[in-house]
């Protein structure tokens, strides 16, 4: 179970990274296209879809790495019991809103399909297709938040974020 969940978060993160490269490729396409005399129709819209995909697909991974920021100065002032209760509260609130986000992201894609909502630009993409990434990312986030809620209930300490990239020297 643990392994499957971690794999899920990682897979979503890799997909997000792929779309990050996608943003770069799409923006470069419009720059190079103007110079070289070709036009990749809708490159601006595709860049936007890639960006939304990055934003949502990476949510769970970012949460797990402790990179979503929160104000914990007050939390840290309390003793372990209150802190535990507050952690449960935060994860409970988080799980609720992430679940809502997941439900309505799925509904967004479904409605776009039902309404036949099509991009107005050169790409003419049916919008439910890029919105699938949003729905998928929101679902994975909801799962991750529920996962964390369970872990918090079992008394896991809040993980200190470790990021190879962060300037850890500053203290």
């Amino acid at each position: 179970m643990r392994k499957a969940l971690d794999l899920l978060y990682d897979a979503a993160a890799w997909a997000a990274a792929f779309f990050m490269v996608g943003i770069l490729a799409m923006v470069l396409a419009s720059v190079v296209g103007r110079l070289a005399g070709f036009n990749l129709r809708g490159s601006d819209a595709y860049a936007g879809y890639c960006m939304a995909a990055v934003s949502f697909l990476a949510l769970a991974h970012t949460l797990k790495r402790g990179d979503h920021i929160r104000v914990t100065v007050f939390l840290d002032r309390f003793g372990p019991r209150v802190r535990h209760a507050l952690e449960l509260w935060c994860h409970g609130v988080g799980a609720f809103f992430c679940a809502a986000l997941a439900v309505f992201s799925v509904r967004l894609a479904w409605q776009s399909h039902a309404f036949n909502d099509v991009s107005q630009g050169n790409d003419a993409t049916p919008l439910w297709i890029p919105q699938l990434a949003m729905a998928a990312g929101a679902i994975v986030l909801a799962v991750a938040m529920a996962d964390d809620l369970v872990l918090a209930a079992r008394g896991r300490k809040r993980d200190a974020p470790k990021d190879a990239g962060a300037p850890a020297a500053i203290e």
């Binding site: 296209g33 309404f115 036949n116 099509v118």
Partner: protein
């Protein structure tokens, strides 16, 4: 009391928005304050591409959109942007009369009621280089923001270029873009004279804004209020067409006053564009099917 939210895409000072505000005020007055419409201008509630689906989904009760933006969804929505089909206000009016039923049916199917439509001034070409004939457009970088404008660029031999409206001025100043099709109104609003010298008043087409309402919200009104809304809509339509036409000349005069070279297209350029228009009308007819043909036939009958 009924409260409606009405998102619209254009700034408060735009004549379309002013018309919508008047429309809302008329309804307020006619219903004795029973129907209050809050106009959220300048895309302050929903962004332009989201307004139609927000009304369709019931998140807003009424809205205003540029109807040709939805040509990707259904070619019939793009009828007013087929170049050189209807190029004057009377023609545009006839085209609207001929197409209104088909557009209303489509909105009805999606749970919405069309209230009125008001055109933008006719579309012309802003160009950093002088254009005597369409041959001069060869290799020109022309902004193309949807399939129709891309096709025009292609048929004219120009290079279609992707650029955001907000960055257009910069792009024209630096030469990343040389040409752009839009109305005198937009040129005035964006102070086009700062970056481009020539405006060819080709009068290619008159795109329209459509104002519409969610059908459930409309049906929830009592009969008297519904009538008041429809009456105010009819007034707004009449008023909007008049203002739009009056402003056309004023906008062009302003462009001239600011040092732009505002000229009608040469006979050659005009004839060349007519050819482009004929090709695109044919293509449009092919994609729009029987409904499209019925509209164009009704329009051509005079």
């Amino acid at each position: 009391q009924t409260k409606w939210d009405m998102p619209t895409p254009y700034p408060a000072t735009n004549f379309h928005t002013e018309n919508v505000v008047q429309f809302a005020a008329d309804i307020d007055k006619a219903t004795g304050g029973k129907v209050k419409i809050t106009v959220h201008a300048g895309a302050s509630l929903f962004k332009a591409p989201e307004i139609k689906r927000a009304v369709q989904g019931g998140q807003a009760q009424a809205g205003e959109i540029l109807i040709s933006g939805y040509a990707n969804e259904d070619p019939v929505f793009g009828i007013d942007s087929v170049p050189f089909l209807a190029t004057s206000y009377p023609d545009a009016k006839r085209l609207w009369t001929a197409s209104r039923k088909a557009i209303e049916e489509r909105f009805a199917k999606q749970g919405m009621v069309v209230l009125y439509a008001v055109p933008w001034p006719p579309q012309g070409i802003y160009s950093t280089k002088p254009l005597a004939s369409i041959a001069d457009m060869k290799g020109l970088k022309m902004r193309a923001y949807n399939p129709a404008t891309s096709r025009i660029a292609e048929l004219a031999g120009a290079q279609a270029v992707t650029i955001q409206a907000a960055e257009l001025a910069q792009a024209m100043a630096t030469g990343a873009v040389n040409a752009n099709i839009t109305s005198g109104a937009t040129g005035y609003d964006t102070k086009a004279w700062e970056v481009v010298k020539n405006y060819y008043d080709t009068q290619a087409w008159l795109p329209k804004n459509v104002v519409f309402v969610n059908k459930k919200a409309f049906d929830a009104l009592d009969k008297a209020s519904q009538d008041a809304v429809l009456k105010a809509a009819a007034d707004a339509e009449a008023r909007g067409w008049k203002v739009s036409e009056e402003k056309t000349a004023w906008y062009l005069a302003e462009l001239r006053k600011n040092g732009m070279n505002v000229v009608p297209p040469s006979a050659q350029l005009k004839a060349d564009f007519q050819k482009v228009g004929a090709t695109m009308t044919e293509e449009w007819l092919k994609s729009a099917g029987a409904d499209g043909k019925a509209i164009v036939d009704a329009f051509n009958k005079k």
